[in-house]
Symmetry: D2
Subunit: 283 residues, 4 copies
């Protein structure tokens, strides 16, 4: 089935759903999935709309212009139209820990992720073999304080060369500079190994142990300029006890990190996430 | 805010969402919430639509007739229109265990349940004081094999007298006869103290212990003629271990039963549940 | 069955378990349950030991002196010996929200809590009827900035009069002064309505909404001089979404608060919790 | 640290813990971890004891004989003594689905599993590359109704050749014959993709969809002669909704299967599981 997916937001008023679903029906589209949300405090409207365009009177090429005309009827409408193909292109940045990277590669192989993992960039060489097994290009760019500027330039060059839409930080142990984050709002997903906002920053499992919490967690969020403060997409938790040493928290945490990051990437690729201020709408 | 809530299902085709949202907009309703689902295997369409009728050109009294006309455009459309008031009237049947009954009464008191608990019927007298505290009428109808027919007649009489829409079995330890269940499809909610379809019938916690499961659960479902087989609304689980004796399973189970039953009753009262064959759509 | 329960901690060395279990066997006790933990970083040993004293050669009265002799063999041993009766006496402090108080009263009624709820103190009168239903003495002590000293004096007087061992803050919306907390380390349990250390202080659900978290939680902890910083006994979480307004978070949170507080009080009463610095060992 | 781990069970009586911990202390062992359980219905005693044998007066070689003498003091004592090395040798059987196999290989690589994955046997060739990447021997033995006897003979030969202690069925889609299961009680772990005892047998996710459950699960259990009926080691669940098609259940199920199987294999290798009748004690 050939589908179009619309993600949009605008100031709330009456008739938005009717107008947009009428727009679809008018050109002989058949709605497959519709989810909407009204933020009554902020008076904002959000919608995700998926429709079958197999019998559409409008071609893929003509749809954006038509949608553009509809959007003008509403105040502050932001919208994005996606099609099932070509698949969004993903780059993954990693360091030495294999679990998140292996998980994403495996999910992609099993067809769970509607995107193409086009490139892996790592600041260590440990994960080259893993990428080779999954037949994904691997680039080693050592990153340290001294060479940050060059490294970032090279990373940027690769993201352009590989036409990357989504960047995923799969336990990449470096802070990204503004050169990478600017202009990529809602385009970089990071996995933080704590239940944010608890335990921001380095060594969250050590922090958790010191605090004596009985539950640990992980948080997938979009990267913004401020460390570990971007809009949260997905979180999960697991129980721990006084028996758990730091190594146990790290081990248990890996399971949470993997499923939270995998879920967040999937939600993003399925066009289910809209960023609204510092929060996300996840349809 | 004065709202109307439509729950409907029909054979799938294109244009249903557009027609219904157009219907709302046409009469100056403002959509608050819309959720829809297409069962592509069964080719069935389901929708829940909530709209603000404060500025509606159609009065509450006129809406059903207008909706009726819209419904005729679609094949096999079943629909139900509800308004925020008057609140649906609920009867709860219980035996001796207080936890589910107390939980529902407390939730109602705290404003979690958009319904009125109009009556409690019990086959024992133990829970009379609890009902008195919450100022809900309590009727004691002893139920045994011998007096089943009379008991059921009296129960039916009360359900009519109190104009009961929803009947909730809050650990009521008797099987309802056809006199009570016939004509009440989707109108009786039971809590079964296992993760159905595991451990149907009596003493599920004893069954769970004997089987050595590591997780127990509870299931809220609509009552049908067949014991513990009706459409499932809500389920939840909790971990157990080899240390748990039957009494521990019963204790842990009570926590699950309470929150599962409370959630199911709330979903039903908020008009979020559509029964489709032996399954439920829960918006 | 008549049992003794020992909770103890000391500096780690070899032979502790052997010495203590030998002590039990020597006087014809039969071990029912034993759980121990070694904190290898802190080099501390912790144990909970439950034994049948039905055939014991030592009476309840003589056991403490005998245990005292055993304890002297170990460095820094702290220990506490409890018996199944008399039950520990509990006071609950509450304000207006009924859910945590009702839950504890119900759990006690159903036999889940091995303690006696001897007294409820509230700074509002709303919950008097609930206590009356459960036949628990209710005392209303208005508490405000102005009368803090007198209120605290009266609270203290009641805790002494009712010989209270455990004080439970069941959504009591006042900070306790040092007059109440001093000397009650590990003797006051509070339920905080967030997943600590996230969202310390007032209005945590509002904080959670503003932050856009996808999971909320609750934390039962012992009260110390520092607000919301005492040793954590029990935590749990539940998923939330962009659809949840503050009222939804509050409602969902109530379910978590109830089960977390109920679990913590039960663990405490069953003598399963040892405080070690700012953490707890929960056997 | 060099440790010994004892798993034992016997008829309950007083003094067992004292005798065993005395045995350890007598030969200058230092107890690291002790967990015990008394099944009061069956009057059986179970214990797991880990101690440091670095300063032991008894060598590894002499410990079993000494333990043997202790065991004779108790009725029906079964015991097993394990040391940290050599690591238990594991064979994994798989078919075409990579997720469970990849997960176990990755966990082993990251040091989560105290065992050596010595061999992978598959009835298809799909997973050969994965094993090559993780440098684990891969053997392809086609298995069908026709060649069952030869296939089983070859499998048995390999298990002996590789001196396999634990056999793990990682979504191996064939039923094992008695030639493989006889004499391996408690030595074969299978992952079943449902929350047993619900949905025994083939296509459990299809069964779950048909039943309309709101939660799915997975079960790791020891294999016995009767299909999907062996003692359960570990289970977990995840919520599903009316939106989930069979493919979604399969996808969500993979996440549960992986973590449940990984946890069960780890618990087994850490010598934390004792089979008692058709149930397990998991320390």
């Amino acid at each position: 089935m050939e589908t179009a997916t619309l993600l949009c937001s605008c100031d709330d008023r009456s008739g938005i759903v009717a107008a947009l679903t009428h727009f679809v029906a008018e050109y002989r589209g058949n709605i497959i999935d519709l989810d909407q949300h009204t933020d009554s405090r902020e008076k904002k409207f959000f919608m995700r709309l998926v429709w079958d365009i197999g019998a559409s009177a409008l071609s893929r090429e003509d749809l954006p212009a038509a949608m553009s005309l509809v959007a003008k009827k509403f105040t502050n409408m932001k919208w994005r139209l996606s099609f099932g193909s070509p698949l969004p292109r993903i780059a993954i940045m990693a360091s030495t820990a294999p679990h998140c990277l292996a998980d994403l590669l495996l999910r992609r192989q099993m067809g769970e992720l509607p995107g193409e993992i086009a490139l892996v960039i790592a600041n260590h060489e440990d994960l080259a073999g893993l990428c080779q097994h999954f037949q994904v290009p691997f680039r080693h760019i050592p990153a340290s304080r001294e060479n940050r500027a060059e490294a970032e330039a090279e990373q940027l060059r690769l993201l352009r060369e590989y036409r990357i839409e989504l960047l995923v930080l799969a336990r990449y142990m470096q802070v990204l500079g503004p050169g990478l984050t600017d202009g990529r709002e809602g385009g970089i997903i990071n996995i933080h190994h704590s239940f944010l906002p608890a335990f921001v920053g380095a060594k969250p499992y050590h922090q958790a142990l010191a605090k004596g919490v009985k539950i640990i967690g992980a948080t997938a969020h979009y990267v913004t300029a401020e460390l570990d403060q971007g809009p949260i997409i997905c979180q999960d938790t697991a129980p721990v006890s006084h028996r758990d040493e730091v190594e146990d928290l790290i081990r248990k945490g890996r399971d949470i990190e993997r499923r939270v990051l995998g879920a967040a990437v999937r939600l993003h690729l399925e066009r289910r996430v809209i960023v609204s201020g510092n929060r996300t709408i996840v349809f």
